[in-house]
């Protein structure tokens, strides 16, 4: 990419979408998990991806930071293609280093937290800014302490993940992602592995983040959260976007029988 085509402004100021997907396909062997996804996520937007398991919503989320490779179609974040570079009309795969660079600006929170068990909560949050961004340790430490305080864990700085509850671990994971000052946050079923009474504390942190204007894509089964926090809800089914729109429309007046059935099933829990 030459200098004059490089994005000079981020999506937040340019009016271009933060995430843009056009006809995104993904195969696992013969199984076509994504069958042409077209989506746009605007800066500061909170989008909730809902749908039955196996509908491809997690896979789509993982494509956005190139944990999965897109097999067909186009996917770009903040104007830059994910995993590829376009030279003329040819696509070139990005080097590992370039992929890693792109991921620095995209935070991800996993269903199973994936905290580094050999580091304290503070160590988990400080690791990437120091080792990846090479920021001075003192600054990072101050910011990490602030972030952990923000997620309500200022008394757990020195605790190892094994000493924390699931909800606390997931809040550390959110702080860890935020420490890289991402422009986009991806949440992959962040509360699905939690005991019911711990779900609230994590959702509260996420709600706080949303009201701060963070661009967020959240794969979730928490309909209450989706209803209250999402700007837009996207219902995926069998690898395609079946319905999309503001919560009031999608959840109150589902257009398809499939979504009606889904809401009913999830609502029972």
């Amino acid at each position: 990419m030459s200098a004059d085509t490089a994005p000079l402004a981020t999506a937040a100021t340019s009016g271009r979408p933060m995430v843009e997907a056009q006809g995104v396909h993904k195969w696992f062997g013969k199984l076509e998990v994504l069958q042409g996804i077209d989506l746009e996520v605007q800066p500061r937007e909170v989008m909730c991806l809902i749908g039955p398991s196996g509908s491809g919503k997690s896979t789509f989320l993982r494509c956005i930071n190139h944990l999965e490779k897109v097999d067909a179609g186009r996917l770009s974040v903040d104007g830059a293609l994910v995993g590829y570079r376009e030279v003329g009309n040819k696509l070139h795969e990005l080097r590992d280093r370039e992929v890693a660079k792109a991921r620095q600006d995209i935070g991800m929170v996993f269903q199973r937290f994936n905290l580094f068990p050999h580091m304290t909560a503070l160590g988990n949050v400080m690791e990437a800014p120091i080792k990846v961004r090479r920021e001075p340790k003192g600054e990072v430490r101050a910011r990490a302490e602030q972030l952990l305080e923000r997620v309500g864990l200022s008394d757990k700085l020195a605790s190892y993940p094994a000493q924390l509850s699931g909800g606390q671990q997931q809040r550390v994971a959110i702080a860890r992602a935020l420490a890289m000052k991402p422009k986009l946050m991806l949440f992959d079923e962040p509360t699905s592995a939690l005991d019911p009474e711990l779900v609230g504390e994590v959702l509260e942190v996420m709600r706080d983040l949303a009201s701060d204007g963070m661009t967020m894509i959240v794969v979730t089964h928490e309909m209450g959260f989706a209803r209250r926090v999402a700007d837009r809800i996207v219902f995926m089914d069998q690898g395609v976007v079946a319905e999309a729109g503001p919560p009031s429309t999608v959840l109150e007046n589902p257009a398809t029988a499939r979504l009606r059935q889904f809401i009913q099933q999830v609502g029972e829990h």
Partner: protein
């Protein structure tokens, strides 16, 4: 005290009196323990007083200058061979997990060869190689910095021993390191990737430290085993512990006493290594256990406390 006490939040809870029962006796255990004690005492008595064993001779040679120097060589060989083994092993493990078939195939071939031939044969091979190779254009990866002040011949033997033991160990360490790397949850790799860490950073900062928990215990065993395997170097004229002992008894014919001397040293060194291994394992258990296992000192204190407590209980009965 009534059950209502615990239900009423207004009154403080009273701790009920602990059960004081007469402990069960185990006469069978006592008898077998006595038999073991007698047999052990007999053996010890025979060992220390028998002239054929010559324990006093063995003790005499224990701190003999050449023996101590030999112990130094044993340690040096162990350290060099294990460092070579660990470095080669980790490299081979990463190669074996590579997507490139040449890399993984090459690593597989290395492991197949070095695990499939006796280490004794490999030692003889490296020792004899200079006889048939006139010119080596590829430098031997050991600088001359640690050469002993002895003649060149000894140098060659030492290098041969290091090569034989180290390259062989690399094959075993590769399998240990591979098991360790595979034991780390794939989510760790994904989390590191998502934070923008590159392959090397992920491996060094995230994967390997966690793999250590699985790698350390067998590596400790390998080190202890290596310490003893270095005695094979005696056969290619290296003056390590056993080699020195053999030279002395070749002169004085005090075979058994000098073998005892060597054994005492090997036992001492393996014991020290076992202690080191314990603390190393404890360190790498950080984060995976809520509470670290007690150190022997803490265990001893605990034991004494329990014993005192049980005595106090018995006295109260």
């Amino acid at each position: 005290m009534s059950p209502a006490d615990t239900l009423d939040p207004g009154t403080p809870r009273v701790r009920p009196e602990a059960i004081r029962a007469v402990p069960v006796r185990h006469p069978g255990r006592w008898v077998s323990a006595a038999i073991v004690l007698v047999v052990a005492a007999q053996l010890a008595h025979w060992f220390f007083t028998n002239d054929g064993i010559g324990f006093s001779t063995a003790r005499h040679y224990l701190f003999d200058h050449s023996i101590v120097m030999g112990v130094g060589v044993t340690l040096k060989l162990t350290v060099i061979a294990m460092v070579m083994g660990v470095v080669i092993g980790v490299a081979l493990a990463v190669m074996r997990l590579s997507a490139n078939p040449i890399l993984s195939g090459g690593a597989w071939l290395y492991i197949w060869f070095f695990r499939g031939t006796p280490v004794y044969v490999q030692l003889l091979f490296w020792y004899s190689l200079p006889n048939v190779v006139n010119r080596i254009s590829l430098g031997i990866p050991f600088g001359p910095s640690w050469l002993p002040q002895d003649p060149k011949e000894l140098v060659t033997a030492l290098v041969a021993a290091c090569l034989g033991l180290g390259l062989n160990e690399g094959a075993y360490m590769a399998e240990i390191a591979r098991a360790g790397i595979l034991s780390v949850d794939q989510g760790q790799d994904e989390a590191a990737c998502a934070l923008g860490m590159n392959r090397l950073q992920t491996m060094r900062r995230i994967i390997l430290p966690q793999a250590m928990k699985v790698i350390i215990p067998p590596t400790g065993n390998e080190t202890i085993s290596m310490l003893k395997t270095t005695s094979l170097a005696a056969t290619i004229t290296v003056a390590e512990t056993l080699g020195v002992a053999q030279r002395i008894y070749g002169r004085t014919l005090e075979v058994i006493p000098l073998l005892v001397t060597a054994s005492i040293w090997y036992l001492f060194l393996t014991s020290v290594l076992s202690v080191g291994q314990y603390y190393l394992e404890r360190r790498y258990a950080r984060g995976s256990l809520r509470n670290l296992p007690p150190t022997p000192r803490q265990k001893a204190i605990e034991l004494v406390r329990n014993w005192q407590a049980s005595r106090a209980r018995k006295a109260a009965l």
